[in-house]
Subunit: 991 residues, 2 copies
């Protein structure tokens, strides 16, 4: 024990050294001026106007992130971030009163690494004096509707770590700042709270919501962002900015604006100081009417502004001078350079109580017919690629830890997870995975992810080679979803490695494109595995476009241990066509079923007709079909708003059916039962039930969406059930907690519904469900999508959108995706996983199910016979973790340290069995690593947990909760309560 | 004598003190680095590419000069000069290698006076080190086609003086820089040579001229810019810039450009250094093919660029780095930051000979149908107002000197000439008097002139009060040209003061609007003066628009002494209508004549039919009529070019006649004979012969030009004579020397004429003539106009233009002038003065005639009886100057010093009588001032003449002239040779 204590002591000492890049422990003498201490004084008896100079730098939108950084392609949009930072630093140096905030670390990092030591020291000085302040500080400003919390936590961690490593605690943002995302997720607020932010500001919310809040002076509030976490763990002070994130009208002095500068030379024409002061005072007084305190904030900046910061600052200096000069004439307005944290500090000092907010800010409408609910689905292929890339990245991270240094430099060369981390981080941007960027930018995000994955593949190969003892070349088949894999199509003998990134074992169906008729398969123990060879479906053959020629698919079920792999050997037994009985039959079955589920079909239409859970003996009527909404072309008496990348606006509230009946083929064998449905040349589906699955898979293939009729189309899959859902359905927030959605209703204001469909759409990141007292039908999605429940018992999910008009929100392109391979329009394939359960136990199914979709096994191949010494099975864990525990992060932090996040993946009261505290022993976690030390951090890993002291805020309603923290059983044995994520930095040694 | 020498000694000492704002005498130790010494080294064996960072800042164009300065109205054009200078200074400080040139002192001055002492010292340091270099340095970059040399010399003097006062000799530009004016006048080159410039660069010349010069490598030359001045007095090395004044294609890194920045971070996408270097080397090599030396210049900048200089410099730094890096790979290209003077120095060091240029660069065409000959006439009212304002300013300057300190602060308050000087200086800009600015900017120029004149009026009133001993309020009537003057219209007794700014006495016809029938007039000696009262013409009544109600005009002839005034007393004798015999008769006379001229009319048409000089007994057939060219609307098979503010392009080469006959009235009395011609409701003319005039006056009134037929119109007055002009006519250059113009011909290249009318138009600033062996018909104009001689014996002058289309050269407005008073279109009135002489003596008439039109007497009024002690006559000169001598400048320089310019106003060989050297005694010049000291300066008064050493250049052809300077008879007695201007700084004391 003595040794242990000593070890920990050394470890903590090391962590305090800034050389290591860990958060520096804060001591009073270290921070004389930055943070709240650096704020300008305000004047108590006056209206204090906080001017916040800022730039909003999209990490890709109309241009790629690197084009934005360099100022390339200014023909598309004038924007060059390198120049913004150059200019702002110059201008800050000219007047110590000036302030600037910077937000997007993806850009700041690019800039920083090109600066001289002198410039870096200058910037450090500015940061240390609070003149340059980072807010938000993630790699990007993430989208909130289409991101998964796992990737958001990662990108925030990366951005904040860079700031911490570079600037120490003066670089730690105090304020979260999501001024542009198109609606706000409760889970984001919860994460921000757990990351230690003192407050949060945003710019966009429903126009009706804003009106009410302005009248009631409720634009500033306390957001209680979790129903599971004990307040104030997920409480976040939240403020709505007065003017989006723009300056007040007439006061934009950027080079991109045309507002008149302050002309204060009396010798020249058009002296306008009096006019400027008068207009400013009027705006300030008006703004003060809709906020609670004698402090108001004005955002003096906008998209890519401050490229020539002199224009802004020169005029702001004058504005402050001339407006404050009026105080000697009795004016009670005091203007000052400020930052969001300085403004926040003043709000906090008022000691007021604030209204409590419990739901989220979706959907966002900026006008009666302008609901930003289209982007929930826009670019479904990119959304899926981003989601699967997260799975790749987590696998890559894990294998970097498990492989040790050889993972980064091994037999297959130099690999890294960094490239993928950055690619995933930029993909979280609110114009990236959101699908609201230009086509060429979407291509750039995809290219970055592909490049990231290429770097990871080397790392994965190195580690698997090291763990297995086999240096056989490893083959990656990224097109298995369309049955393309050159190796399996041609090889007579190959092995299949299945790596499972979850903390519990998984069983997983594998489908490999082959040209043989029969194969023998053995598992890691040499045991034969049941397999089937079936013909490739016509739907799949149609979308391959010359990328593969497999005629058959080899189907079998694999198992893999937690945080580990299992290897299967496959040998060709027989060539030629599959046996006739392997081929599908051209008719609908009465039913398909396994031991868990039974599904029936309407023999007339070929559509689903019911779903039964055989374990719980419950059955619901359930039909499913595909429809499309006709996208508004703006030729409409009510509004000229078109459907576009952002906005969903159907022309009519009743969608058009694609086909009332489906052409059917049925395939049934020992591994899988499939009903293949053809609705039209561009819509097909496979209803699939694997032998040991509790979920019914609906694999949809949509596209190319035809537009020859000049009608934009928004394609949905709609489930209509007998469930009495009473106008209510449920969606997840960023893949974590569930939120109730009620038709034509908002929890915090009296909604005047103006778009019966689009106004009832919500983001679905991982799942949605409808329920009544008895039955809960849950749909797990494989990517973020938009959806709604327009009729009781019905749940619709938008799958694909192809539009002919731009929706005038800036992107300047209709969402009309084509590619070299699909010049006539993108074909998209995806899966919905359905489960039926009693509401009380539904989470027991959908939590692990969704987890398996998010972090899917990685399947890799080696050709030929494996060396006999090859280790065919491996687990990085000493033991399976409890079912409630999710291994959110296992990632190399520094040479000897690993970042670990453990998550309780159930909500409070969600599951009788699982919604209980659970504990994990950190020392007994890994099978190949000794954990020598541990230190807990905040969620974003930029602060020691014991140093995370946030400003406390009082809610208008409700008791102020006592923050009580139950101790862990021991230093190594840590407790997790429902929905809790705990973040640890472990010092480790490879065994 | 001893006293005199002493005085001069003190004077010169004083002049050396920089406190006084005179040019500091240069000593070697004072200029360690600026000027040529501050240039970067070049590499002898390489192609040296001189990158010249620059901005071109129009002193008004689409926005007013102050809007440009502040960056106001960026909705019209993004441009803010205050920010340009802020930014450039910042960026120069970042890297001592960087260079910048600044050109327009009107802007620099505005900026400078708002800077702190610290910033001023910083800028001085940059100037002293040659990092910031002034080129050209006038208040503006003057237009060359429509300006008068008098105003150009003034504006250059003002700009250069500011630089001298502020920066000493390091602020003295070495290079003239007219990169934008639309063609180049020989007189400008002559002036620049006399101002001490070592070289001159411009950007625009005829496209055919450029082609030939490129092929022949003759883009750099020696311009011998005077036929009278002894070389090299008016020799100017002249270079044509390679790309107008823009950077090479693909290398514009201003915020206003979209060229790709240098992306040199290998970690980011789209690394393009290799591509940039390759493209640059290719451009450099191609450019070197059309220049003579291994030095080439690239202008890295353009209109209002460098507002964010970081963009330019950051990329230029990289360009220089990466291109020169190739030298280690064998590249023979060396790039460097440079300035025009550093480039010039390298050219000079080559010691090559250069082709000689003798004519000018008019007209300018940038394509076959795109002749920039419209602006010679555009905005005729502004052009006249500018010209008359020059006359006002010279009078104001003279009266400031003659009045002494009381002129600036006297009984009528504070007056100054500074305001008018600045207004006139900005009006010389190449989008000001040129008429190529937007309407609101034209209005601003006019407003500035009006304001300048208002300030001058106070000064003039103070001085005249002081000189005359009468403090009676002085009334100014600025609308006498349309017979409006409230005082004379109502007063029964008033006096008329006629101030003559010329150095010789003048006789001048006065026409005053009155309502009486008969007046008695007495001159300064009490002698009665013959006068006539005639009815106001219908043409005049039609254009007054409620601004006056005089029914009659009082006509009489006045005399005024040199640089002095004479006062006439007017008393009403009789009210009521004029006697019937005073009224015009409704018919054409057979002839009108005085003792000098006889004019006959065609009784059928009412048009002129002949002109005779009765003294020389010569007669020519002469008819005159008005026509209009139909402005091209661009709907044309040959070219889509429209006529516009810049470009004149008639649809057909034959103009449309307005009327073949004129309706006629004839008025004949003892003072004047007038034939009033009506051609249409919008064109009329008075053919007028004053009793003692040697010129026939054609007072034309044109407008509102009708456009109801949707045809743009360009109205000309055409004189058709019997003179056998053989395709040749003559025009003046900026009001000084005459140039021969030959139809469809250019002296230096083989012209392919593509526009038979527009391509034969030339600027007429003060006069034009046609001649044959016997007869010379000279037309003196009252403003700058365009004109041509399309047929032998014919001379046409464009008077007014009203157009319906923009000509796509940037101004973005059709030239379609209206005003509050003339909402249906501007009415313009002006005068052509015709003289007929033998060619050998024609100058004896047209030189003084043009002078009288340029510097016209100022007529002011006082109401009532004058005090008996009033001094009714005054001359500031001790004696009339010789007829060849023109008093170009008499202007207060500093408290005790006066700037004096004496000009020989005849060309060599132009006049047997006057083209002779002449001398003037400076001590005997002024009647009220003692001249205590004298020092000669260069033409622009920013250098002592004895320090003006210019680079000498060798011409390819012709002997290199020996610069010989004949000494003056004495220090006080100075010689003037034909066309010579000598500039002196006099130390004076009021007597």
């Amino acid at each position: 024990m003595a040794t242990l204590v000593y070890t920990q002591f050394v470890f903590l000492l090391l962590f305090q050294s800034s050389v290591w890049g860990f958060p520096v422990r804060q001591t009073p003498q270290e921070s004389p001026t930055c943070g709240y201490k650096s704020c300008h004084a305000t004047k108590p008896g006056m209206l204090n106007v906080h001017l916040v100079p800022h730039t909003h730098d999209d990490v890709g939108w109309l241009k790629t992130v690197d084009q934005y950084f360099y100022g390339d392609r200014n023909d598309i949009q004038h924007a060059g971030v390198q120049y913004i930072l150059d200019s702002v630093v110059d201008q800050l140096l000219k007047n110590p009163d000036r302030r600037f905030i910077y937000v997007e670390t993806a850009f700041f990092y690019r800039w920083w690494k090109r600066q001289t030591d002198d410039m870096q020291n200058t910037v450090k000085q500015l940061v240390n004096e609070g003149r340059l302040e980072f807010v938000n500080g993630g790699w990007c400003m993430s989208d909130e509707a289409t991101t998964h919390y796992s990737a958001v936590v990662d990108q925030m961690t990366m951005g904040l770590r860079f700031l911490n490593d570079t600037f120490g605690h003066c670089g730690r943002p105090r304020v979260a700042w999501h001024i542009d995302p198109f609606g706000h997720a409760r889970e984001h607020a919860s994460m921000f709270a757990q990351m230690g932010y003192d407050g949060f500001f945003f710019g966009r919310l429903d126009y009706q919501d804003r009106s009410r809040r302005m009248a009631a002076r409720e634009q500033e509030m306390l957001w209680r962002a979790s129903e599971s976490l004990t307040p104030p763990m997920a409480d976040l002070f939240t403020g709505i900015l007065p003017n989006g994130y723009n300056p007040p009208e007439g006061f934009c002095w950027d080079q991109s604006c045309d507002d008149p500068p302050i002309r204060d030379d009396p010798d020249l024409e058009d002296y306008n100081v009096d006019d400027v002061v008068t207009r400013f005072l009027s705006i300030a007084h008006t703004q003060a009417l809709v906020y609670k305190t004698n402090h108001i904030i004005m955002t003096m900046g906008s998209d890519f502004q401050y490229e020539n910061a002199n224009l802004w600052y020169k005029n702001l200096d004058k504005l402050i001078h001339y407006v404050n000069q009026q105080q000697s004439n009795g004016s009670k307005v005091n203007v000052l350079y400020s930052t969001p944290s300085c403004y926040l500090q003043e709000l906090h000092r008022t000691n007021l109580t604030w209204p409590l907010k419990g739901d989220d800010f979706f959907p966002y409408a900026d006008s009666a017919h302008d609901f930003w609910t289209g982007y929930f689905t826009s670019r479904p292929a990119l959304k899926r690629y981003e989601r699967i890339s997260n799975s790749y990245l987590q696998t890559c991270n894990q294998l970097e830890v498990l492989g040790g240094p050889i993972s980064r430099k091994g037999p297959f060369g130099a690999g890294d997870s960094e490239t993928m981390k950055k690619a995933m981080a930029v993909a979280q941007h609110h114009d990236a995975v959101s699908g609201t960027e230009k086509q060429h930018v979407a291509n750039d995000y995809a290219r970055r992810l592909a490049n990231g994955w290429a770097h990871c593949q080397v790392l994965v190969s190195n580690t698997l080679s090291s763990l297995s003892g086999s240096s056989a070349p490893r083959v990656y088949c990224e097109h298995l979803n369309i049955s393309v894999c050159p190796l399996t199509e041609t090889s007579k003998k190959f092995s299949v490695n299945v790596y499972n990134p979850l903390a519990r074992p998984v069983s997983w169906p594998v489908r490999l494109p082959v040209n043989g008729t029969a194969y023998s398969i053995s598992d890691a123990n040499g045991k034969a595995v049941d397999s089937q060879v079936v013909p490739v479906s016509q739907a799949t053959a149609a979308v391959r476009r010359g990328r593969g020629y497999a005629v058959n698919e080899l189907l079998f079920q694999v198992q893999a241990p937690p945080l580990g792999y299992s290897t299967y050997s496959v040998s060709l037994l027989q060539n030629g066509a599959p046996s006739p009985q392997a081929s599908p039959l051209p008719r609908a079955p009465k039913a398909v079923q396994n031991k868990f589920l039974r599904v029936t079909f309407d023999p007339e239409t070929g559509l689903l007709s019911s779903l039964s859970n055989l374990e719980t003996q419950q059955t619901v009527k359930l039909s499913q079909n595909f429809y499309w909404y006709n996208a508004s072309d703006g030729k409409n008496s009510e509004s000229i708003q078109m459907s576009g990348a952002y906005i969903f606006r159907p022309n009519t509230s009743t969608p058009f059916i694609i086909s009332k009946t489906a052409k059917i083929e049925t395939l049934q064998n020992s591994v899988v039962q499939e009903v293949r449905q053809w609705f039209s040349p561009w819509v097909s589906q496979v209803v699939r039930l694997y032998t040991d699955s509790r979920a019914l898979e609906l694999e949809w293939t949509v596209g190319p969406v035809p537009i020859g009729d000049d009608l934009g189309k928004e394609v949905i899959s709609r489930l209509d059930s007998s469930i009495n859902s009473s106008g209510v359905f449920y969606t997840d927030s960023n893949g974590r907690e569930m939120l109730q959605r009620r038709k034509d209703y908002r929890p915090t204001w009296n909604l005047r519904q103006s778009e019966p469909i689009a106004g009832n759409y919500y983001p679905i990141n991982s799942r949605a469900y409808i329920k009544d007292d008895k039955d809960q039908l849950t749909v797990v999605t494989d990517r973020s999508q938009g959806g709604g429940s327009i009729q009781d018992g019905s749940l619709e999910i938008m799958l694909h959108r192809r539009l002919l008009y731009d929706d005038v929100r800036g992107v300047g392109e209709p969402l009309n995706e084509t590619s070299d391979i699909y010049p006539e329009g993108l074909v998209v394939r995806g899966r919905l996983l359905l489960s039926l359960s009693p509401p009380a136990t539904a989470a027991d199914t959908h939590r692990p199910l969704a987890q398996e979709v998010v972090l899917q096994p990685l399947i890799t191949f080696t050709d030929g016979e494996l060396h006999p010494n090859t280790r065919l099975e491996f687990s990085g864990l000493q033991a399976v973790l409890p079912p409630a525990v999710h291994l959110l992060t296992v990632s190399q932090w520094d040479q000897d340290s690993v970042l670990l996040r453990l998550e309780h993946q159930y909500q409070a009261s969600e599951s009788k069995e699982h919604s209980q505290p659970v504990s994990v022993n950190l020392q007994k976690l890994f099978s190949t690593l000794d954990v020598l030390g541990v230190s807990e951090m905040n969620l974003s890993a930029n602060q020691w947990k014991d140093e995370m002291t946030r400003l406390d805020w009082k809610a208008e309603s409700g008791e102020k909760p006592l923050p009580k923290r139950e101790g862990d059983p021991s230093m190594w044995e840590v407790n997790l309560k429902p929905m809790e994520i705990r973040t640890f930095l472990l010092r480790v040694r490879q065994r």
